[in-house]
Amino acid sequence: MLALAWMALPALAVDYEKEIKPLLKERCYACHGALKQKADLRLDTTASMRKGGDGGDILAGDPALLLERVTTTDKDDRMPPEGEGSMLDTEQVAKLKAWLAAGAPSIANEQPEADPRAHWAYQVPKSSGKSVDALLSARLASKKLKPQPEATPEIWLRRVYLDLIGLPPTPEQIVSFTRELKGTDGKNEPHASHSSHPSYSRVVDRLLNSPQYGERWARHFMDIWRYCDWYGLGAQLRHSQKHIWHWRDWIVESLNTDKGYDQMIVQMLAADELAPEDRDNLRATGFLARSYYLFNRTTWLDETIEHTCRAFLGLTMQCVKCHDHKYDPIEQADYYRMRAIFEPLHVRLDPWQGETDFEKNGLPRVFDLHLNKPTFRHVRGDEKNEDKSKPLTPGIPQVLEFASFQPASVKLPPASAKPALLPFVLEDQLHAAEREITTAQTTLDKGRQALAKSPQPDVKQVTKPKVLVSDDFTSAKPDQWEILKGDWKHSATGVRQHETGAERRSLRLKSAPPTDFEASLSFTIRGGQKWKSVGIAFDSADGDDVMVYMSAVSGGSKIQVAIGNDGKSSYPPAGSVARTISQDVRYSLELRVRGQLINASINGESALAYRLPQNRHQGALSLTAFDADVEFHSFKLAELAADAVLREPAADKSVPLADAKAAVALAEKQLAAAKAKPAMIRAVFTADKARKDKALAKAAAAAEASYKLAQAEVDLVKVEADPKAKDAEKKIKAAREALEKTRKKAAAPGETYTSLPASLKAQEGPEESTNATVQTYPDTSTGRRLAFANWIADKRNPLTARVLVNQVWMRHFGAPLVANMDDFGRRSLAPLHQDILDTLTVDFMNNGWSLKHLHRAMVLSELYRRSSSNAEADAATVAADPDNASYWRMNPRRMESQLVRDSLLHLAGKLDLTLGGPSLDPASSETSPRRSLYFVQNADTEHRFLAVFDNSNVLECYRRNESVVPQQALALTNSKLSRECADALAAKLGKLDAEPFVTQSFLTVLGRPPSEAERHASLEGFQALKQDRSLFLQALINHNDFVTLR
């Protein structure tokens, strides 16, 4: 079908160079060019096509082989092959046909594709020995382009402040700088040339030495290195790590101390292998911990490989996950050789000095865990389809292999394999244990005080009550009791009712009880399907009654008042108190009722005081079992003595006696456990440190067993005190069993013990639940990452420093030297300014990979002082280079989102310059005065203010967007933040007259005085705003120059 379509088209005149060659390049060269020569065939020149491959000349014949293979419908023969690209379309085929029909004309001196290894970025950079400005001047001269003059000193100053510390200069700093320039010049002309004036480099030095420099540039590197606080679903950590901010602080500090970039790379990839005991620099490995992903190991390692290579090397390794690279001389196996470098990698939290709770603090770090795990190639990138025929050894792409890749296994110090041995762990754990003792003691003291205040058993009466009924149920007394349902059997210990199920079974007292009475029932619950309730009902008549019962229901055992009305019961919450009520335990329920007031005690301790909401109606009294197999042992009914004191529920604010006793019992056990802990900690630590000392191990095991026994007692008391908890009965049973076990263990502790909980291994998948118990790790590391890092940070690596210089250049000059920040492969042609790039790169490496040195070279250049305006520019220059590719002027840039917010707060005098610390709640970013880099940033968090100014994308951000959208206007005009900053600034400026106010406002907000026209428009606008200073200042905040680095 396709073939017919193209044959029907008339022959066209086709230009080989413009139409055929680009087509072949795009669709065929990857396999038939310099990179690869499948079937021994190249298509990069007509000569090589004529020479042909295995099948001979592909241009000869009708149809020519070339045409045949791109048009055939045979899947085995089609080109490009299935999965390597779609078929050529009709138009493309028609062009090929026309070109062939015309005899496949070529061009003169057609050159084959260059050897991929000759690609410019794969060659070691060479310095020209000249300055940036000299190289640029020469280029501009050769292109006959005329550079723009210098911008005003104020503009330079604002540029360099925002660039180096991320905050604009204050009016005082501006005035002092311009005065300095004038003063030493002895001239009044501030715009004269100052190219070598020492004030410039003094300012730059001061800024580079300011701690805010580290914060400003850390934010850039946090973009490139994908800084991301942990997130997941609810409490489940799925991405990154808790406390990853330690890595952020390490970045800030490393920049401030001007640590070499090469060192930074090695520390981020392999600090644990380089210097395992250097805890400060272990923070650097947050770079790798950041890519942790709970659900999928391959996703985690894919991200690690992709972004390590894009960030440091400008190498697009992600392309070779599934197939050989289409542009670069890298094959699929290279991807898995690189994966093998990271295959052993895992993440854990190490303890942070001074804190033992990993929720509060900890050091996220990487280490080699799976030392011998093989790496297999994933066929077509499919993780389910591993090519198990041969495991891959760790390695780097051959094209960049300037020295052989030889990882050497690293022996780790004891504390790396066992974080419990870190010098501060013992002290921290003991401190924590002491705090526990103090807390337990305080709790116990309070509990004892509460107990002293608790109401004592309700027996304060002088008169002996008149006993009306007393029965021990050893025999049936049909004249006294009427059976209302149930199967009642008498024995020597009482009467037992066996039937269970949700129905009431009662013994009703045949004689009427007195209105005010006291009654006590002794019973044991033997079983029941669910509710297991036993109680005393009274006032029973016409379907109404009142009942007080105890229920041993699992998960909610309690004492409860139930009010029956027309056969339906209600259960007032005020009439319910949770109590542990168990099966096979003998209880005594005592009731005292006077009018509407009911007091109930259990085993002589008051448990409940309740006042009935309505008047009582006299009725019968009965003993009831509801879904309970129960034995009644005895019952007593008496008149309530007139002097018996009953408690009112309202007055019952003190802790009930039973609760107070339980609290004291728990606190006592907790204190005992807390006191056993330090001994355990010491013994365990000593045994760990000695390693394999039997006597010490025995002592540790014994101390641990004693502690665990004490803890088991605490656990039992705890679950017993919470009978309403879910599965309380099960838990109590389990706690009793656990206690029994620990008793046995304490009697014969053996030699095994648990190390101190000094690390938290990240889960290896959502199913792993015992990760926290792992406290010992391998005592060697493969050394693969260290070898890899050293290869990246080697002066002979042609990419690393170049990629960095390009990143820094883009951030100072608004446009990169190499357009693709993260791809220096063959798709990136040699840049126009390669000489500048290479010269800076060599200079950078020769100066200890110092970023501060690099900044100086850039911001003290003439180019950096150039105006960014086209005004009065040479018309030929504008026409020849409208996009400023040759840097004949400076490029204006828009502030990053963090700069907008930080600058606003700084102008308002509100910015808090505290350095470092845990990431802050993102919701507070519109009210907190901290710098923007300190707020939680992850893929689940949106900062509504920062988001509108192109906040960093935590998934990847090699270059920020600089969008212009109306939401930015709305944010700067309508947000509380912008208005409050304007208010604060207005207050700071004070009540100046209109003219000086306008001048001072410009200087403060825009860093420069107004022009005459601006002054005029501003004064008019100020009047139109009814001289509202705050609204005027807010208008200036909305000036394009505010968000712009001019």
Partner: protein, 471 residues
């Protein structure tokens, strides 16, 4: 009454979105961003995207499967259709959450929970939970043969972007449409989202935040972040402020001639100012007739919330918004996620959306807007033919239904089918990007030609236009 200031009368300059991208990519010389003009014949000018979050049961909405009732309670292996469980056929799923409680094979067949009726001249069968949508059957093209690869709710991201959660994030369809076609309004954003988002807060991704959907609420008092001053300012004062900003930026433009970013910023202030009025005005339904409100179901408290959103959607469509994205169903996973109590869940939720959606289709039609407005009804996946627990259905990526109406689609069409159990899409199976490709095609865009330097839309699996649903 305050005087209109000069700022408000100034003419609108050029396109905005393209400037943002141009400045971002100024180092690229050969490449040009899209012109904002369609490159193919344009049938639809705008899209209203109705997304039911959580996974609508295809068997109980638009794809009747009487065999489920016939074999109810039997295991799939006992039916003549045992081959649907062939492991080869189940391979396409890509699991994110290993050993999750949900997203499993459910083998005990669960009977249909609702009856079906035939609707319209086309006689298409639609479940009794969607009678109003049924009454529009002649306008709708149903696609009963969708499949996807994520068996969990990351499939929501997948349906919007075309890529599985475990792959790098890419821009969503709405972002590409806005990027490819630009804006038709100077008062409103081009890409708007209403309702709870699927869990991915960015739409534009590498296209940049200029292509993120702007989230709006149907509350006229607070429709949009920073839509009105958070600290009160009088209207005349604010107008004077915008006027001053404009004057100063105009003077700045003399100092920096030819600065495109500055020009774009000036225009953005114009749009921002207009948006402050236009957005709340769009949310205000006072001018809508009682008849119209009734048509959508504004008079019933069950249908009112979605009805209000859909009337607003129509008003946004009339005012030139390009891509109007609605998400129905609260909760992290989405309300339609009926692992248990499917009958109660689906009948309630269907009632919330059925009448409003039919109201939208009828209203668009009577206003002549349906011809160039494409309405899409979609969900992230279907539900298992087998039961989960006693009365639910689990996630099911192998076969499910979506539909489209208006905007150059062929109403009264059924396209594709699942097998007798509703398990696999068997006839004309379509991955989610086929829906994207079809939408782009109707909008006059070539799914293969959307790109920025270094990035093509999706890189692969661009999707194929579903020709059978085109008018």
């Amino acid at each position: 009454m305050h005087q209109t200031t000069p700022f408000l009368r100034r003419d609108i300059l050029g396109g905005l979105g393209s400037i943002a991208v141009a400045s971002m990519l100024r180092a690229e010389e050969a490449w040009q961003p899209p012109s904002g003009l369609p490159i193919l014949p344009q049938k639809a000018k705008r899209v209203i995207w109705l997304f039911m979050r959580g996974g609508v049961s295809h068997m109980e909405s638009f794809d009747p499967k009487p065999m489920l009732t016939k074999y109810a309670g039997k295991s799939i292996g006992e039916t003549p259709f045992a081959s649907v469980q062939d492991p080869e056929k189940l391979k396409k799923v890509r699991v994110v959450v290993v050993n999750d409680a949900n997203g499993k094979q459910r083998t005990t067949i669960y009977p249909l929970q609702v009856g079906y009726k035939k609707y319209g001249q086309c006689g298409i069968e639609i479940s009794d939970w969607f009678p109003h949508i049924g009454s529009c059957a002649d306008e709708i093209a149903f696609i009963r043969s969708m499949w996807t690869t994520d068996d969990n709710h990351g499939a929501q991201v997948q349906f919007h972007s075309g890529r599985h959660m475990l792959e790098p994030r890419v821009p969503t369809l709405g972002a590409w449409v806005t990027y490819g076609l630009g804006s038709m309004t100077d008062n409103l954003p081009s890409f708007i989202n209403m309702g709870p988002r699927y869990f991915d807060i960015r739409d534009g991704h590498y296209l940049g935040p200029a292509y993120d959907a702007v989230n709006i609420k149907v509350d006229p008092k607070n429709p949009l972040t920073f839509a009105s001053p958070e600290i009160a300012v009088g209207k005349p004062e604010q107008a004077a402020q915008f006027d001053l900003i404009h004057k100063l930026n105009t003077l700045n433009a003399e100092q920096y001639p030819g600065d495109k970013t500055l020009a774009a910023r000036m225009k953005s202030y114009q749009l921002a100012y207009n948006m402050q009025t236009a957005v709340p005005e769009t949310m205000n339904l006072d001018s809508e007739s009682a008849e119209t409100k009734k048509l959508y179901g504004m008079d019933d408290k069950v249908t009112e919330p979605f009805a209000r959103q859909l009337i607003v959607a129509r008003r946004l469509a009339e005012r030139g918004v390009r891509f109007i994205q609605l998400q129905h169903g609260d909760g992290a996973a989405g309300a339609w996620d009926s692992h248990s109590g499917l009958k109660k869940n689906h009948s309630n939720l269907a009632q919330q959306v059925d009448k409003p959606i039919s109201g939208l289709l009828k209203d668009l039609k009577q206003r002549g807007l349906l011809d160039d407005t494409l309405v899409v009804f979609a969900t992230e996946f279907g539900r298992t033919p087998g039961s989960q627990g006693s009365d639910g259905r689990d996630h099911h990526p192998y076969g499910f239904s979506v539909w489209m109406a208006g905007g150059g689609t062929k109403g009264g069409t059924i396209h594709g089918s699942t097998d007798e159990l509703g398990f696999h899409a068997v006839e004309h199976p379509h991955y989610v990007t086929d829906v994207h490709a079809t939408i782009l095609h109707l909008l006059g865009l070539d799914p293969h030609q959307l790109e920025i330097p270094g990035r093509k839309r999706l890189e692969r699996d661009f999707g194929h236009v579903i020709g059978q649903v085109l008018a």
